[in-house]
């Protein structure tokens, strides 16, 4: 291992970034699917994989609110990253009694 590889490790574990996903599909009865293109979760140096579980690799926020990992599943398809929010885990109606419409 040389300095370059050491730098790569630091890039994997200490270079946070942020992406905005857009609504990809909401017709599935169970999920709202959001997508961002050309985004891939970084690979981790093998010796560090146990120190950062998949669920701790990223955080999900909706309008600034932290979303529990129990409320979504994520998927990587080629270079696109998908998050599917579980409809059953979100209230059916908002505080005004209107059905939730996701944008």
């Amino acid at each position: 291992m040389n300095i370059r590889q050491l730098k790569n490790i630091m890039k994997e574990i200490n270079e946070p970034n942020e992406f905005e996903l857009y609504l990809y599909a909401d017709t599935n009865p169970n999920y709202w699917t959001y997508k961002v293109e050309n985004v891939r979760v970084k690979t981790l140096f093998s010796k560090l994989e146990n120190l950062r579980k998949p669920s701790a690799r990223f955080d999900v926020f909706i309008n600034g609110l932290f979303i529990s990992e129990n409320d979504y599943i994520f998927e990587q398809k080629e270079n696109d990253f998908y998050i599917r929010f579980k409809k059953s885990n979100f209230p059916a109606y908002d505080r005004f009694g209107n059905e939730y419409g996701w944008k």
């Binding site: 574990i13 981790l44 950062r52 579980k53 669920s55 690799r57 609110l65 932290f66």
Partner: protein, 147 residues
């Protein structure tokens, strides 16, 4: 194999035959220490800086378990020790990020303690304007290892 060669003197016409010069390449020194305590078979930079790298790499994200109206806990976790190399550099105030029902909670509103025997980190909230109940979703991320 036949090899033909000339035997050259060190000097010819009072001038040295072999001209030495400094290489334009850098001189790169390899690993000199290994802090892992393991046998030094395949020395690597990772082993030299493993404590710091591991600390930076550690990140947990877990839903806390409700204890009572002011207390929650993370179970089956390990809180890493801050390496001395990062004293004064790492932001210990934000060791954790706590979210109650999605809202970020300032570190000034809670204290925490780690029990290395039970592998639990207990968070006690002191300044919340509401009591916690079992239905609240308390998510905690930060520097802890999920075992």
């Amino acid at each position: 194999m036949i090899v033909n060669a000339y035997l050259l003197p060190e000097t010819y016409n009072k001038k040295p035959v072999v001209k030495k010069s400094n290489s334009v390449k850098r001189v790169v020194f390899g690993v000199e220490t290994d802090l892992t305590g393991n046998t030094l078979i395949n020395p690597s930079l990772y082993n030299e800086y493993a404590q710091v790298i591991d600390f930076v790499a550690v990140r947990g994200s877990q839903m806390a378990t409700f204890v009572n109206a002011t207390t929650v806990k993370l179970t089956n976790v390990k809180k890493p020790i801050l390496p001395s190399e990062l004293f004064g550099v790492f932001d210990i105030v934000n060791w954790f990020r706590v979210y109650i029902n999605g809202d970020f909670i300032s570190p000034s509103l809670y204290t925490y303690s780690y029990n290395g025997y039970t592998n639990e980190i207990t968070f006690t909230f002191t300044g919340l304007t509401f009591p916690l109940d079992a239905q609240d979703e308390i998510a905690i991320t930060g520097k802890f290892e999920e075992l």
